[in-house]
């Protein structure tokens, strides 16, 4: 092995050779090769963050987040094994039970990454006892509603607002089970920030926290992102188009 991997270097993903370019992570290389690994806090436009752990794989027998693990030639990566899928399933079930996710009446249903990943992993119930946290909405902004019930703390809005919009409208606060999304304003209200509807932060939430007001359910069932095709296909196509 050399310090700079060959341009035609590959690793093994569930028995298949996956080529990668220097600097790519396992997740990036897999997606580029048309192989799906479930993920939530990763977004191709941002530096990986590695917090949700849904993208966990086994690399040479050791588990790690594929979104932050660099691809190395000859590595043996396991992803679609029952053990790994089971682990991911539990992580997703945790997320479902930590927040309030009522898919049948959620505007994001069909467009929601959490829901789509849940389907992919065969999650049919929350499994854990739901915590039903009390998280009041922030409807103060004239154009945008924040429904904190659905936040999975992926920090994508935080990253988008800081790095792209240069505004820092959002932040995470607290630790452990008390960790939650806050709005950076003295009043704590979204209306008192400089968020604008065309900000990047408006379009990155993988669930349904940050919503444009008065547009709910305009898109019918059948026409939503994951209605016709599973996330497995949508995610790799998105990568191809990018």
């Amino acid at each position: 092995m050399t310090d700079t991997p060959e341009a035609d270097a590959t690793f093994q993903l569930d028995g298949h050779d996956v080529p990668f370019e220097p600097g790519q992570t396992i997740l990036q290389a897999a997606l580029a090769a048309g192989k799906y690994i479930p993920y939530l806090c990763f977004h191709r436009e941002f530096h990986p963050h590695g917090s949700c752990k849904v993208c966990t794989v086994k690399v040479n027998g050791r588990t790690g987040a594929s979104c932050t693990t660099p691809a190395r030639p000859g590595d043996v990566v396991e992803s679609e094994t029952e053990e790994i899928r089971d682990l991911r399933r539990h992580l997703v079930q945790f997320l479902f039970t930590e927040g309030n996710h009522f898919c049948p009446s959620c505007e994001q249903s069909g467009n929601c990454t959490l829901q789509a990943v849940g389907y992919d992993l065969g999650v049919t119930t929350g499994h854990y006892v739901p915590l039903f946290p009390n998280r009041p909405l922030d409807a103060s902004h004239p154009e945008v509603l924040l429904d904190f019930n659905r936040c999975i703390l992926c920090e994508l809005c935080v990253r988008a607002s800081t790095l792209v919009d240069h505004k820092s409208v959002f932040a995470l606060s607290g630790r452990g089970i008390d960790k939650h999304l806050v709005v950076n304003a003295e009043s704590g209200r979204l209306a008192d920030t400089n968020l604008a509807v065309d900000d990047k932060a408006m379009s990155v939430c993988p669930v349904g926290v940050i919503q444009r007001k008065r547009r709910g359910f305009l898109v019918p069932i059948g026409k939503r992102t994951y209605d016709e095709r599973p996330i497995r296909e949508v995610a790799v196509d998105r990568e191809k188009e990018a």
């Binding site: 009446s105 959620c106 409807a139 359910f217 069932i221």
Partner: protein, 492 residues
């Protein structure tokens, strides 16, 4: 008009029979009967623990979620709640007139819902009593028994329901918990292919609906004395009627008649419903007792639902159903029919009417249009009223300037019929139970009367043709004397 059996003069020493339908999901109802040593009936009550507090889940939510959320109120008529909420919120978004496409798509959805709900109720839940007998062998008094004895009829019931569900799927996006109707309109029109698919099925649907009407007409004719008398109590009636006085289950104005058929009020804008109707409470039931304000709680209670509305309107406006209605009205010429069992007849007439309306809607090019949503000056409150399968359904919301719901009031069809159902079972108790040891078959008479109103209790909707029953006989001190449990068969 409230009958004496509501409250026993002196309950001491009376034995209490409890009919308790055990419910797993949305509704729970029970009947209690007080009898003396000679089995003379002293008190009969239908108690219902309903969807209490659902309003709580709506308050604080953004208004655009409401039409989808409220569908969780009911397992078999979610579409009615979906549309009633949309209609109320149309006013909040200033859509006082919908686009023609939105109007037709919503109507189609609604009539599909009426058709499937009426089919479910008659063929699955009530036909076992009517075809096999109120006291027929309990093990066979269910849809399986009907399937064995009347296979073709049972099949038609299934097919009718399927058609209604297909209409819902096409218009709402899903067979249950669709999202098709939104404040201000709809999110999809009907495609040509979808319309053609429905049109192809229609001739059969209309034929089956006619068979259903003929069957109930015949049942009534064969045992007219029973059908006319069974649990019959006179009352006022209330429903929406179209602005032209014809039956309109989707939209219109409020009209009420007294028990003789004389108009009490007419042409009332639904936005003013709360001045017309007040609700009473009784200590023994969670369900309220609405009454017409002008007449007061004693005389002001009323019936809603198929039997009320087909008599309340001037005509149905579709030829086959109107001819069938004429036959029903001929039972007591010039007077209102009040017999609970005539609800079944009226329901089947409405089923036929719905099929005819669907035929008309499918021929309307506006159904395929592209202009889906209307809007106008923002409002802060809205009332939406619709004639749901079981009767008048009222949704009322207030929305603040942040777009969140601050107030929600729902009056569901079953609540309107609360007093009427109570009076009907009291009458049945007088007619059949008085002086007899209460057997399962006799107690089923009580259920037959309740079922005629098609109340929206989950147990009534999930059990095949009978409610799961638990009967407890207690002595005067409340000690258990006997307990009979009859399991319901669930549709799954």
């Amino acid at each position: 008009m409230t009958s004496s059996l509501e409250k026993a003069k002196d309950p001491t020493g009376l034995r209490r029979v409890v009919i308790e339908p055990v419910s797993r999901v949305e509704g729970h109802g029970k009947v209690t009967i007080l009898l003396d040593a000679a089995n003379k009936v002293h008190q009969v009550r239908l108690h219902i623990v309903e969807f209490r507090g659902f309003e709580r889940f709506i308050q604080g939510r953004p208004y655009w979620e409401v039409p989808v959320m409220v569908q969780r109120l009911c397992g078999i008529c979610p579409v009615s709640h979906h549309l009633a909420a949309s209609k109320a919120l149309d006013r909040v978004v200033g859509a006082h007139t919908l686009t023609p496409t939105a109007d037709r798509v919503r109507r189609l959805m609604h009539y599909g819902q009426i058709l499937q709900s009426h089919a479910l109720h008659f063929y699955h839940l009530s036909s076992p009593d009517l075809l096999l007998g109120f006291e027929s062998e309990v093990a066979r008094r269910n849809v399986v028994g009907v399937l064995a004895a009347y296979p073709e009829l049972a099949k038609q019931g299934v097919m009718l329901r399927k058609f209604g569900q297909e209409v819902i799927r096409i218009t709402a996006g899903k067979r249950v918990h669709g999202t098709g109707s939104i404040p201000g309109g709809v999110n999809k029109a009907v495609s040509e292919a979808e319309r053609d698919e429905l049109q192809r099925a229609l001739p059969d649907v209309i034929a089956w609906a006619r068979t259903g009407v003929a069957l109930v007409t015949e049942l009534f004719a064969k045992d007219r004395a029973t059908y006319e008398r069974f649990g019959t109590v006179r009352s006022n009636i209330l429903s929406l009627v179209g602005r032209d006085g014809k039956l309109d289950l989707y939209d219109g104005v409020l009209r009420a008649r007294d028990a003789d058929g004389k108009i009490l009020f007419d042409g009332v804008d639904v936005q003013g419903y709360d001045a017309l109707i007040k609700e009473n409470v009784r200590s023994w039931s969670y369900m309220k007792f609405p009454f017409l304000t002008a007449l007061g709680p004693e005389a002001g209670w009323y019936k809603v639902g198929p039997l009320a509305r087909i008599q309340n309107c001037d005509s149905l406006g579709t030829p086959l159903a109107d001819a069938a209605r004429d036959e029903l009205l001929a039972v007591t010429p010039g007077k209102l029919v009040h017999a609970p069992l005539a609800f079944h007849w009226a329901r089947m007439i409405e089923l036929l009417h719905s099929a005819e309306v669907i035929e008309r809607l499918l021929a309307d090019p506006a159904l395929l249009g592209t202009d889906l949503v209307a809007s106008g000056p923002r409002g802060t409150m809205g009332v939406g009223v619709i004639e749901a399968p079981r009767g008048t359904l009222i949704h009322h919301y207030e929305v603040d300037e942040q777009d969140l719901v601050t107030m929600c009031n729902l009056i569901v069809s079953t609540t309107h019929n609360n007093q009427a159902m109570n009076e009907a079972i009291r009458e049945v108790a007088r007619q059949y139970l008085d002086g007899h040891e209460p057997t399962e078959g006799l107690l089923n008479h009580i259920e037959v009367a309740i079922r005629a109103f098609d109340p929206c209790l989950s147990c009534a909707t999930h059990a095949l043709g009978k409610m799961p029953l638990e009967v407890e006989i207690l002595d005067a001190e409340g000690a258990l004397v006997e307990r009979l449990v009859r399991e319901g068969e669930h549709l799954g």
